[in-house]
């Protein structure tokens, strides 16, 4: 496999810089979120580096790993992805089953495999394999005027709900919901018959309230209730929302400054390097910093959609749209949660939050998109 000069010429540098900008800002915030003034620094090959943030240091190693994965994915042609879509889906499905029995029990749920050096979250990879399988399944259907009817879409819906059900069993409501939302938005984008859409809407009117009684666990209900009135239980279920809003609000226009966020540094803010890393940003860099980061995400997704627009085949287009939807929903749900607009569900902020699985999945996905972007002027089965 060699790289054609034409491929290099059409490499999307802007998209790369956009990604790098988000990652770099994320590292700055992570340094602060994981900052421990009493730390002795970190030992690297016998050198003691004055890095006083364990989360920052670990994220750097994940990033190095992510970079190689990113480079590697650039070489994967879409046709190969199309070939491995279903096998990959089955593997990730099996992984989801295994994690329920062999997984690491943490905070009352089984979400991780302990591979010794790294904890792997199979649900993150299930997300990607679902996007891949859906793209393959949908793109194989021939065009229908007026959109597809439900019976045409039976298989894609099965693809969505199988992993979603297993993830819900872990339990991980946030990821399960994001799987459903990503999948459904791909189908919606692909085109669905208006009558079928109305049918789905009516159906969901029954499913959502009944799920409140049958599906949601008490702690999940409390989180939803906490959103409506967080002050009812300020030390319990409302604590995250209250402290996050205090952190965000107290940041003001320009923030309290790097390492100066009191909510973050004095540990009032929970989960500050993972799910609530945006609160740290808002507290220390203020409104200005938030706007900058939101703009970067906006332009990133804008750029991803531009790649989708430029694709020449439905598989690639659906794949890129699916990846965009994944990034989009993660950003929206995470920031919405931090700002007290959505209930507290444990979803990371892509490229920002500390955590290997999320970071590797995102860099991997970005590599796929950039690979597609590179090949936009070549024929699908053409020269590489």
């Amino acid at each position: 496999m060699g790289i054609d000069r034409r491929l290099l010429a059409s490499f999307d540098w802007i998209l790369l810089f956009n990604i790098l900008a988000i990652i770099s800002l994320g590292l700055v915030i992570l340094y602060s979120a994981g900052y421990n003034p009493d730390s002795n620094g970190i030992l690297v090959f016998g050198y003691n580096l004055p890095i006083k943030s364990a989360a920052f240091a670990k994220q750097l190693t994940y990033l190095a790993l992510g970079f190689f994965i990113f480079l590697f994915t650039l070489f994967i042609p879409p046709s190969f992805l199309q070939k491995i879509a279903y096998p990959l889906f089955i593997i990730s499905f099996l992984a989801l089953i295994f994690v329920l029995t062999l997984g690491l029990l943490s905070h009352g749920s089984k979400r991780w495999f302990d591979l010794g050096f790294i904890h792997v979250q199979p649900s993150e990879f299930a997300k990607f394999s679902l996007i891949l399988a859906l793209a393959k399944s949908l793109s194989s259907k021939s065009y229908k005027i007026g959109g597809y009817k439900l019976r045409n879409l039976f298989f894609p819906f099965i693809l969505i709900f199988l992993p979603a059900a297993l993830i819900l069993k872990q339990p991980d409501l946030g990821t399960a919901l994001s799987v459903i939302v990503i999948g459904c938005s791909m189908i919606l984008f692909f085109g669905i018959n208006l009558r079928s859409l109305i049918l789905i809407f009516i159906l969901s009117c029954f499913v959502v309230p009944s799920s409140w009684y049958w599906l949601l666990k008490p702690y999940q209900k409390r989180r939803v209730m906490a959103l409506i009135n967080p002050e009812a239980d300020p030390l319990g279920s409302g604590y995250h929302i209250i402290q996050s809003k205090i952190a965000v609000g107290s940041g003001g226009l320009f923030g309290k400054g790097f390492l100066n966020g009191t909510q973050a540094q004095l540990e009032f803010l929970p989960e500050r390097s993972t799910d609530f890393v945006f609160s740290v940003l808002a507290e220390e860099w203020g409104f200005a910093g938030c706007i900058l980061v939101l703009l970067l995400y906006f332009s990133l997704m804008n750029r991803l959609l531009r790649v989708a627009y430029q694709t020449k085949d439905n598989f690639s287009c659906l794949l890129v749209v699916g990846i965009t939807a994944m990034v989009f929903f993660h950003v929206v749900i995470n920031v919405g949660m931090v700002l007290g607009l959505f209930p507290v569900v444990g979803l990371p902020l892509p490229l920002f939050s500390y955590g290997g699985s999320s970071l590797l999945l995102t860099t991997f996905s970005m590599g796929i998109v950039m690979g597609i972007s590179m090949r936009r002027f070549s024929y699908f089965s053409g020269t590489y």
Binding site: F189, I246, G249, F268, L305, F380
Partner: protein, 611 residues
């Protein structure tokens, strides 16, 4: 694989930008709302999260006697506290602590519960207050097994001589709800300790000092992160009382456990040298935690230990009052010292009423000096009858009876000096409103409706000692800052001169001299060692009529006097509520007190702790 519809699907991708824009706008608006519009509010809340104020109680001012001997100070009190955050197994720790100290588990847990749902973090909850030395050693030695247990110290008010002068010194206690609301206690906080009685209450402003304040930064667990600022606390001012410790000790000892009062006063300044009121209480009880039953015992006891009998108790003065009747007679010119009145042992008004003298068969012919010396009732019945009630009332009032002495340490009782006027006001039936001549003799020997406080009596006698001046009893000599800078000096005094001739006073004092120093004087037992000069005084024995705690056959035993006769420096009074007679019970007390005062420099200050 080519796809015919690729352009169709991918062209839709551009429309998705609208959704992006929509969410972007929602987030920007939300951020604007949280950070810009409500920014101040959330900044406040984030500051509240991390800032804690700790108040440091200032050391309360020390209280000294007139010579600088310490009467009240602060001692370190050690307590054992539990830091919930650090304790691994609270129940096990308490169990072990209970085994070590011998205190019950319930007792130790009591305070743990009452501390409630406060988010304590690294703040401890005291579970043993005022731990004793042995407990501390055991806790310290087992510290490794008692995780979360800490030992701390805080200053506690300490009254060096337990109940000595308790009614003067008073006590401190937690500020009550009413005080918190009153403007006098502006700036005080809940659970502050304030003077509630005696000098502690009266001079609260001087003694309190200024509390320090520490601003600290805490983290989410409530653990101390760093100190932001520290406003140093200022110790309270030092008080120097007019009390003389040696005299006070002598007074306490002399009265012993009998119910009654001893007062000693400097007739030249009005400074109280000693004041004992029994039964008493220990102010140290209040410095620790007073249990409800202890408190009830103090306030509900029929003996009323919290009452300062010296200023709040009212008693018939008995024969002590004869000196007033005598002065009135001399001043009004209705009798001279030379005039003799026959005492047949009784005095009759009309046909039916007979007033007895205490000596059966009578004293025979007595002049004033003899009448005072022997406390002849008939002489004073006669004199009183000649004076009439209104003149008795006028002279008694002149000497300060029936009104407050001006000793503003605490609320004073006024007592009562009867008069026609008073009867008119006090009674409703017309026949009761009249003053009957038969009522006057009782009053002229200090009985009847007449009642006085011991301090009023001392104040009146002081006027005999200092040549006719009314003093205002006081307790504070001077006030200094904790560093010794004089703030207030009350050694100078303004005396109120009485319109009484010195000769009249001298006549009465001559009689009082005989009371103590003649062979047959009723107050022989008050005679002091000749090296101190002569003590002059008057005995009194009265029926306990104005007191509730009446027991048959028990009488009020009074004695009051001053010394040395030629240059009086101390007036002393003793009252024993259930005695045989003034000469028997109270005269020796006064002797002890006066000798202790006049001989206070004879021996070195062995009893005295100086700071």
């Amino acid at each position: 694989m080519q796809d015919r519809h690729s352009s169709h699907l991918s062209s839709k991708a551009k429309n998705l930008n609208l959704i992006l824009l929509l969410f972007f706008c929602v987030f920007v608006l939300r951020l604007w709302n949280l950070q810009i519009i409500k920014g101040e509010y959330f900044l406040d809340r984030s500051e509240n999260n991390r800032r804690r104020k700790i108040y440091i109680p200032p050391p309360r001012g020390l209280i000294h006697d007139r010579n600088g001997a310490v009467l009240v100070k602060n001692r370190p009190s050690f307590y054992v506290e539990l830091v919930k955050e650090d304790a691994e197994n609270i129940h096990g720790t308490i169990q072990l602590l209970s085994e070590l100290t011998g205190r019950s588990v319930d007792e130790l847990k009591k305070r743990l519960k009452s501390s409630g749902k406060v988010k304590t973090g690294s703040q401890g909850i005291p579970i043993i207050l005022d731990a004793d030395f042995e407990e501390l050693i055991k806790v310290k030695a087992n510290q490794y097994r008692l995780r979360g247990i800490r030992i701390g110290a805080l200053p506690v008010r300490y009254y060096l001589n337990e109940d000595l002068a308790a009614h003067i010194l008073g006590y401190i206690r937690e500020i009550n709800a009413a005080q918190l609301l009153s403007p006098k206690f502006a700036g005080y906080r809940r659970s502050d300790l304030v003077g509630q009685y005696g000098v502690e209450a009266k001079l609260e402003d001087y003694l309190q000092g200024k509390r320090g304040e520490k601003g600290i930064i805490v983290n989410a667990k409530g653990s101390w992160v760093r100190e932001e600022y520290y406003k140093q606390e200022k110790p309270g001012h030092k008080l120097f009382l007019t009390i003389d410790l040696k005299t006070q000790i002598a007074a306490e000892k002399a009265l012993a456990n009998r119910t009654g009062v001893v007062i000693a006063l400097d007739p030249n300044t009005g400074g109280i040298l000693a004041l004992v009121s029994k039964p008493s209480f220990s102010p140290n009880l209040f410095a620790r935690e007073l249990s409800e039953s202890q408190w009830n015992n103090l306030i509900l006891s029929p003996e009323k230990p919290l009452t300062n009998r010296g200023v709040q108790g009212i008693y018939p003065p008995g024969s002590l009052f004869k000196v007033i009747t005598a002065v009135a007679g001399l001043e009004e010119g209705i009798i001279s010292n030379a005039e003799k009145i026959n005492c047949p042992g009784y005095y009759s008004i009309g046909k039916s009423r007979r007033f007895k003298c205490h000596k059966e068969g009578g004293h025979g012919l007595v002049n004033m000096t003899e009448a005072i010396e022997k406390s002849c009732n008939v002489y004073f019945y006669t004199l009183g009858q000649r004076l009439g009630i209104d003149r008795i009332h006028r002279y008694a009032s002149m000497f300060g009876f029936g009104e407050e002495t001006g000793f503003d340490l605490m609320k004073e009782a006024r007592g009562l000096v009867p008069s026609r006027e008073w009867k008119k006001k006090a009674y409703s039936k017309p026949e009761d409103k009249r003053w009957y001549p038969g009522e006057t003799p009782s009053v002229s020997i200090g009985q009847g409706a007449l009642s006085v406080t011991p301090l009023q009596m001392v104040k009146a006698i002081a006027a005999f000692a200092n040549g006719g001046f009314l003093v205002k009893p006081k307790i504070v000599n001077s006030i200094e800052t904790s560093l010794g800078v004089k703030l207030k000096d009350e050694t100078s005094v303004a005396l109120e001169s009485l319109p009484i001739n010195q000769s009249s006073i001298n006549e009465v004092v001559n009689g009082m001299y005989n009371v103590v120093n003649s062979e047959a004087g009723t107050g022989r037992r008050a005679r002091i060692h000749p090296k101190y000069g002569y003590l002059v005084g008057k005995t009194g024995t009265a029926q306990k009529k104005s007191l509730n705690l009446e027991k048959k056959g028990e009488r009020l035993a009074w004695f009051t006097g001053f010394a040395p006769k030629d240059n009086p420096q101390i007036v002393a009074l003793a009252l024993v509520e259930s005695g045989e007679g003034g000469g028997f019970d109270s005269a020796p007390i006064v002797k002890e007190v006066v000798e202790a005062f006049l001989g206070r420099f004879d021996s070195p200050h062995d009893l005295v702790e100086k700071d």
